[in-house]
Symmetry: C3
Subunit: 458 residues, 3 copies
Amino acid sequence: MPGFPRRSAGRRLQLPLLCLLFQGATAVLFAAFVRYNHETDPALWHWGNHSNAANEFYFRYPSFQDVHVMVFVGFGFLMAFLQRYGFSSVGFTFLLAAFALQWSTLIQGFLHSFHGGYIYVGVESMINADFCAGAVLISFGAILGKTGPTQLLLMALLEVVLFGINEFVLLSLLGVRDAGGSMTIHTFGAYFGLVLSRVLYRPQLEKSKHRQGSVSYSDLFAMIGTIFLWLFWPSFNSAPSALGDGQHRTALNTYYSLSASTLSTFALSALVGGDGRLDMVHIQNAALAGGVVVGTSGEMMLTPFGALAAGFLAGTVSTLGYKFFTPILESRFKIQDTCGVHNLHGMPGILGALLGVLVAGLATHEAYGDGLENVFPLIAEGQRSATSQAVHQLFGLFVTLTFASVGAGLGGLLLKLPFLDSPPDSQCFKDQIYWEVPGELEEEAQGPLRTEEPDTRA
Amino acid sequence: MPGFPRRSAGRRLQLPLLCLLFQGATAVLFAAFVRYNHETDPALWHWGNHSNAANEFYFRYPSFQDVHVMVFVGFGFLMAFLQRYGFSSVGFTFLLAAFALQWSTLIQGFLHSFHGGYIYVGVESMINADFCAGAVLISFGAILGKTGPTQLLLMALLEVVLFGINEFVLLSLLGVRDAGGSMTIHTFGAYFGLVLSRVLYRPQLEKSKHRQGSVSYSDLFAMIGTIFLWLFWPSFNSAPSALGDGQHRTALNTYYSLSASTLSTFALSALVGGDGRLDMVHIQNAALAGGVVVGTSGEMMLTPFGALAAGFLAGTVSTLGYKFFTPILESRFKIQDTCGVHNLHGMPGILGALLGVLVAGLATHEAYGDGLENVFPLIAEGQRSATSQAVHQLFGLFVTLTFASVGAGLGGLLLKLPFLDSPPDSQCFKDQIYWEVPGELEEEAQGPLRTEEPDTRA
Amino acid sequence: MPGFPRRSAGRRLQLPLLCLLFQGATAVLFAAFVRYNHETDPALWHWGNHSNAANEFYFRYPSFQDVHVMVFVGFGFLMAFLQRYGFSSVGFTFLLAAFALQWSTLIQGFLHSFHGGYIYVGVESMINADFCAGAVLISFGAILGKTGPTQLLLMALLEVVLFGINEFVLLSLLGVRDAGGSMTIHTFGAYFGLVLSRVLYRPQLEKSKHRQGSVSYSDLFAMIGTIFLWLFWPSFNSAPSALGDGQHRTALNTYYSLSASTLSTFALSALVGGDGRLDMVHIQNAALAGGVVVGTSGEMMLTPFGALAAGFLAGTVSTLGYKFFTPILESRFKIQDTCGVHNLHGMPGILGALLGVLVAGLATHEAYGDGLENVFPLIAEGQRSATSQAVHQLFGLFVTLTFASVGAGLGGLLLKLPFLDSPPDSQCFKDQIYWEVPGELEEEAQGPLRTEEPDTRA
């Protein structure tokens, strides 16, 4: 591209070398540690006396595919609302998630399914790896447009590890329930991203302010992301739930919660909008808060009414957050939250955790019957009272906030290393620095269409 | 937005207040009446002696998700073909469907699954609620661009009730078979919308005629809607069918029918097009008629050939309808059918109902074997002959047309209430009246990319 | 459209007549030969003593739907990257695939499931028909923009037959394993298209060179295609695998392979790009090579590490192919490969076949246990050694290349028939010749929004 000075080789080579290094490293670790589990290994599977229909694949793979769509299409296109950053939004989502799922397979494997020196993989590890990639993409949303791909890969490298440890502390050590990840995914991902954005604060960002808006077609691309996230969120929350009533109830609760958050988002957006107009930013984001808010309690006895109420509250809080809190976050707290992840994942995540505290605290043997074992095994086995479970849930939220904040503080220092290929203030929110960008639609001389011209090919 | 006079508060507040009112009302009704059914309630499920694999979730949830995509992505983006109405097409689809599914859960619940004072919900109620939302969106297609969101919500309020009653009369009282809804969904939704459009006739609509066309990229967004509708229609028709061969056969028949309607649509579009050119309106819509036309007979012994023939006929009729009948509908009958729902849902819906009459009338014990019980229980139990079933099917069509027309007449009077926030003729088919619309892509001064500028963040 | 001379009637009528002829012919053949199989026929299904849960539908339909999305959304939108050819890319994909799946149901049925004079159909025939449509679309990619729809339908007519025969020779006669079709689908489709492109070589194609590029939004539409292909490729490769561990392992291997090809594509694209910039063409295409390369070996004991290594290699080779080999293909070999199918399907397909040779040759009873029967039945039954299986696999690759090349040579002569409606050199890569194309977005006089104007409808 004439007129553009070339970047130094040191900067140009960062992305390819980091990709090669990371891929090489995960491949070596896979060779050493990752093995098929008893449902994917032919010898192990056929050694047992199963019917093929009993393979976990048939109970979880359709949900996995819905989650997979959410991570790559949902997050990717939701972030494509920026008028000149569509390639990066979709493309870096693709890159980050493809790396995060490999790296997370290893980290989660070491922490959760490391037996006899090996990590055993199957559809459940695929779901968990995609979940972790989702958290990384939430953090990406906070710093979207202001970081280069090298920085993002380093963020993923660190965040996946911290995600795994936090999840291990909550689920395995504290016995916290969080199937759909209000805490482990949304709260963690959001505050990790927000603290990171704080550390990477750019006082001169108004230099590229004019590119932070959308255009009509970029908003429609973003709606593709929104709608697929909205549609498949019931699968997201239910993907790791207990089989049978567990998955079924979780999907149902999430479906109701999302429908209510959609109505409250439209109501609030029109209420606070100039001249009663709806704002696409709200619809694209806050309408999804109903999925986040039942991430913890969706598998519990939330009741259909409870799901509607929770969704309604989440949509309201989230829309008001976009309108009133995001500007303060930047002006007062120096947090430049590009996608408003505080409104979509942060506050609704915390609300979801607190809702989980409440619903767990109300758990009784009568309400759950023999199903209590699946939802609250420690209560069913008499090791813990409902109140104690609630306290543990609450403690899990604090642990998550701590891990996210401290981890992102460290991460921020890493991403500020001066030699990293970070975009200058004037080039933020712009694909051109990292991508070959095509020109605009060429004008055509609209001469007569010569369909009868002598065919030179004959 | 400078230069625009503000709407009066009475108009600006209609949408938020209606959303809050509707959401509040459904939440209260949910609290009073809606309960988990025996497959979503942990105590009930674990009380029985089921294997988890027997939970209905695993037989119907993947189909539900496909239906869900059709309703929100399919309908939403299909209607986004209008050059300046994409936000409203996708956004109001989102709002209407999110409300309709809650409201329909209640209405259908009261009519179909009200036991001991409660409505019991699970994946089947989710599918049925989404089906009803689909009918509402079909009606929306007829009045697209000419009604405000307040009017649309009121339409949904009324239409969901009438849909439920009509469905109850057909399926429960008359013993009509209509798994994929040729009558209950497509015919009902289409004629409800068409009569509504007649009542709301705007003689001065040519004031916004220039906005009724598409542009290249809006046609591609519409194709996203078309293709997802086309792909998942086999799931739509089979979602409520009997388990086993029933779902399997329905999906197969729909798949064949759609492939034939695609070929006949391309043939007819090129045949009637200026200079043999294909028309995107036909491809986006008429190619889908094959799904509509087997909505009733798809679960029956239609045979693969029958499916192809039905699809072929539907694509032909639909394409010719777009070319020749839509203009007459407006000029003679004063029905301004924005999306041509008469061609995609109306005529193919009636054809589908008649095809159901035919195939039901030919039912024999030999052809269905013991599977007759699932498709025509009343014939299998000897309560009805095949001919009698056919007559009932035909009567169901007349009932549907009556309910749709009379109901929409009433609905039209409701929507004409003068204080409702309806767009003036000159502002139809335009997002700007209800949405904050971003400007066009900003021109950038393409100066040299200063990647080596002093980094002010360090 | 004023100013355009009308095409002759002989050209204008080709498309409609061919569509009608083809649809009529398949319908007649369906009437004569196609019947419901024992899982879709009510009498046959209920005659047996099955549980409904045992119906193949529940094990394969979700995978089928993913494949269906890949064929129609994936291929269609991936090819919509061209700035003025979006309607044709998506529309002709729709037409071709809708015809190919019917025609292939017949051809594959005659070759694979013809019993007692009838072809029996169900979800497996749906998957296989969609697979064949996929191969046709791969070939379409090589000649995209340079052929009219009549030519494309004739190509499909021929290619489906040759695809079926080649598949029959490999799978049924040679006992080759190729679940995900590295050979039968990707290698066959790619080389069929490339040879066709050679025969149809247009020396004057630079006349429409300026239309071969993309614009920002067309690249984002293409990314919709890419991402859905990438996401659902695990379902593609596993759709026809053995139930149980077979499908599960194949999906897992494909998931890993794709994640590695994504990282190597980003690495290589930045490495060879001007100033280290990423190229959308690489990301849209080469990142998918990981799915192609494990098409044969995905069901085998590839190991998770093997999947990563294979994907890494495929992404690397494919990206380098786009950068360095595509220009040579045109200049030296006179092959104008519009979508670069040689890089995405050709070379990775051959690599995938060779990987299958290797992994098959290493098969042992120890590694597969009793699962060997499902993956290599001839080895399990002692009819063949692993080495012999490997030799047969290799021979299958040569058979495929031969069938594709010779068949496409014949096909090219057919498509060069001078009366066929082929676009002249100056009109390639342009929708306008076959489609009614809307104008650009109309400028609106942005006068004050008169919401308070007297409502003429009252």
